[in-house]
């Protein structure tokens, strides 16, 4: 059942080269990776994860089309469900974090990261954002990463 409306746009067969679809997916994934790695605003990091999920969805749809196998599109459906669940829980964590720290900066949430007995969560819920940790401290330097690059 092809749509009468869409028939002028979409010809039978696939005119788009699959490698372009995959390339676009990879480029989008790289953009998402860039966002997750470079941004420190937790909301934008979550948005970047969405970009990466969308990139994989695009590749799934492309391969589903080429292999004439509908399962690829069903997987996209599942991936959207997972994305919705992830966003619901992720945003709940953002709200809970914001209540504690008054900040959407991921680097403000590193209580388990190093030995820093900052203010006990729950004692100072409302009021000024407290910068119990200075960003200039060299603790964020990933020493091991230089070896990898």
């Amino acid at each position: 059942m092809t749509s009468a409306f869409l028939s002028p746009v979409v010809a039978s067969g696939l005119a788009i080269p699959l490698e372009w679809v995959v390339g676009l997916g990879l480029a989008l994934f790289a953009v998402g990776l860039l966002g997750v790695a470079c941004r420190r605003n937790i909301l934008i990091m979550l948005l970047s994860v969405e970009i990466m999920l969308n990139a994989s969805n695009l590749v799934l749809v492309g391969f589903s089309r080429v292999h004439s196998e509908i399962s690829g599109q069903v997987f996209v459906f599942f991936s959207m469900v997972v994305a919705a669940a992830e966003v619901a829980v992720g945003l709940a964590i953002v709200i809970a974090l914001y209540r504690l720290r008054r900040s959407a900066d991921v680097d403000d949430a590193h209580d388990l990261h190093d030995v820093d007995y900052g203010p006990v969560p729950g004692l100072k819920l409302e009021g000024e954002p407290h910068h119990h940790h200075d960003h200039d401290e060299p603790e964020a330097q990933p020493v091991g990463a230089t070896g990898e690059a």
């Binding site: 746009v9 979409v10 067969g13 696939l14 005119a15 788009i16 080269p17 699959l18 372009w20 679809v21 995959v22 390339g23 990879l26 480029a27 989008l28 994934f29 953009v31 998402g32 990776l33 860039l34 966002g35 790695a37 470079c38 941004r39 420190r40 605003n41 909301l43 934008i44 979550l46 948005l47 969405e50 970009i51 969308n54 969805n57 695009l58 089309r65 080429v66 509908i70 599109q73 069903v74 996209v76 459906f77 599942f78 959207m80 469900v81 997972v82 994305a83 919705a84 669940a85 966003v87 619901a88 829980v89 945003l91 709940a92 964590i93 709200i95 959407a104 991921v106 990933p142 990463a145």
Partner: protein, 171 residues
Amino acid sequence: MTVALFLIFGATALASALLSVTRKNPVASAMWLVLMFFGLAGNYVLLEAYFVAAVQILVYAGAIMVLFLFVIMLLDLRREQLESEPQPRLPFFGVAAAVLFIAVAAIALLDAVDAGVFPDAAARSTLELDGSAKAIGESLFGTWVLAFEVTGFLLLGAILGAVILTKRRLT
């Protein structure tokens, strides 16, 4: 025509994704991402995945991003807080990771093209796929019915988790 449209939609999606991750303001970021969803939905239509295209707009643009906007507005980050993002976290390593990823992916992609993994124009012209809601439904409730049920539980867990996480006091 189809290829030109694919390029336009793809360029839109890529450009708006880039703008989305580089904006300081989360609201602007979210709006650019909505544009990216539209670009991808256009590409899904060109790939004859009509149902996926509609669900993409319905779920991503209609629900997920509205939820994002709601939370951003609820947090109401003050301007100084937004623009105080001192410097990108791990700027060098982030960019290096993205560039390396692109390089590896490009090499792999070109290799695959050389090896003839992707069908050429002649092979593509005979491809047929019914991407209608009916076909998706038959696959979803036939082959993948177990996975479908499991996603139901996943969503239930996500709802419970979200409610518990955002409750101020559990009584």
